[in-house]
Amino acid sequence: MESAIAIRDLTVRHGDLVAVDHLSLTIGHGEVVALLGPNGAGKTTTVETLEGYRSPTSGSVSVLGFDPISERRHLVTSMGVMLQQGGVYPIMTPLQALRLFSSYYEHALSPESLLERLGLLGVATTPWRRLSGGEQQRVSLALALIGKPTVLFLDEPTAGVDLHGRHAIREVIAEQASHGTTVLITTHEMAEAQASADRVAILHRGKLALSGSLDELTGGGVFFQAPPGLDTVSLGEALSESVEETLPGRYKIMSETSPTLVAALGTWLAEQGATLGELRSGASLEDTYVGIVGDLAHEPPSEPTTSSRRTRRR
């Protein structure tokens, strides 16, 4: 079955600036993916291209099989968008805004039930401009959900939201995913990605620096750096474990770390004349993110993101 979101070799330029650089990423139906990256990484440009607000300079994107620009009228009936800020008439109340937005869709959710679901009944008749930041975020999420979308784009959904609101939002995201809705979350917050996403994609300088499930990025496994292009099949046989080159020069052994494994790895690399870079066992998402972004930040922009990443030795 075709993926819900497909980004194929996408490049988007703003004048001389390359905001997104040959990015490829696919997201399956019902998957919750967090797009992480520092400011200027290309997250917003990528999402705006998927939402149909920007045209690709080269490459292509499709959402639910539709081109977001030329087939927009088909897509908007199935798409929910939550902006990072604003997007609502300031003098409208949440109830008025939801009723207005529900009129745009043939089969909309009940505004009242959405307000209740997101804990907003108490402020249903308060103008948007008088709501707290967290309440505004929840109204914005409600507006994204009102048309029963099958794909949701959420930009910093929990920014400025209190703990109670965060739980409500996370529950709603999980609920949507359980109904088969594909969710793409753009966030700076590792905790948010870790709490809500099945998979994380880290962008840096417009390129995909790393992508994988939370287990792959944070769970078990031994990660090491070595020259790119090693024979992972041969190494796997030597270690009796599965080995994968996740990015050029970055390898992952699907195993728990042990002195025997480390020794065998060192021996195999020595036989190949290859130097072992840094080695670590598992990591938090934040460690992974800082390792990627922190190290890549020191690389010249034109170079491919294939060099080392800072890791922990255990």
């Binding site: 607000y53 902006l83 604003g86 008439y89 003098i91 008025q96 009129s103 869709y105 048309g147």
Partner: protein, 244 residues
């Protein structure tokens, strides 16, 4: 149809709930109508002030709603991300613009009715008969499109706060040079030449010619029609849905 109707109702409700908009679209025109009808500043040898001022105030009302109110509201909607947000819904650009046009015209009908009633109460005697009335309505629609184009041109390019200042500044310029309360004929020659190519003077001139007490200056319809074409086209080509 349901979406369009709901959006029209929302646009009208929001417009009428904004105090500053009510002041601009109803308060100021009615105040100027009463004031200049009672004070003999704008009369001619053959016409009473109310016969000169009422058609001019109709033009002012069109400008207030189509250019200033619509332009400022749209500018803030762009700045607040409302237009961007609406762009991702099935409402679509055509229904959004359609709703804005319908809402603007309905508000102008309300304004026109109030101004006519107050004008008649002040002793205005419209001339031109049924044909004059129809010409005036056509002129109001043409003027509404022209001013709407100017308002959206500004709203689509400028930051919301800058757009607010620009629209209000332009309102003042058009009010003074537009022949709405100060006849163009009494302006110094240099200013008169400038005024006569502005949409405000052209609109007030053709309305006054149709139902008022004075005839239009030559070329006023051409000027108005030129703005009717140029302003919306400029807005369409330059409008940005996303804020800065």
């Amino acid at each position: 149809m349901r979406a369009l109707r709901a959006q029209v109702v929302a646009e009208i409700t929001m417009t009428l709930r904004r105090g500053e908009t009510l002041l601009l679209t109803l308060g100021i025109p009615l105040l100027l109508l009463v004031f200049f009808s009672e004070v003999k500043i704008v009369s001619s040898e053959t016409a009473r002030p109310v016969d000169v001022v009422t058609p001019g105030i109709l033009a002012l009302a069109i400008m207030s709603t189509s250019m200033v109110s619509l332009g400022i509201a749209t500018g803030f909607e762009r700045g607040y991300g409302v237009l961007k947000r609406l762009g991702s819904t099935p409402l679509g650009t055509s229904r959004l613009l359609g709703a804005k046009i319908i809402a603007t015209l309905l508000i102008e009908v309300l304004q026109g009715a109030l101004i006519v009633v107050v004008g008649l109460a002040l002793g205005w005697k419209p001339s031109g008969g049924l044909m004059g009335g129809m010409v005036a309505v056509v002129a109001c629609i043409v003027g509404s499109v022209a001013f709407g184009g100017i308002g959206l041109f500004l709203a689509g390019r400028l930051r919301a706060e800058v757009n607010l200042a620009a629209a209000n500044g332009l309102y003042l310029v058009f009010l003074l040079l537009g022949g709405m309360v100060v006849p163009v004929r009494i302006l110094p020659t240099g200013l008169r030449v400038v005024a006569e190519v502005l949409p405000a003077a052209a609109l007030s001139s053709v309305i006054r010619d149709a139902i008022g007490a004075t005839s239009a200056y030559s070329g006023s319809w051409i000027v108005l029609l030129a703005w009717f074409v140029i302003a919306p086209v400029a807005a369409a080509f330059t409008f940005r849905f996303q804020g800065d």
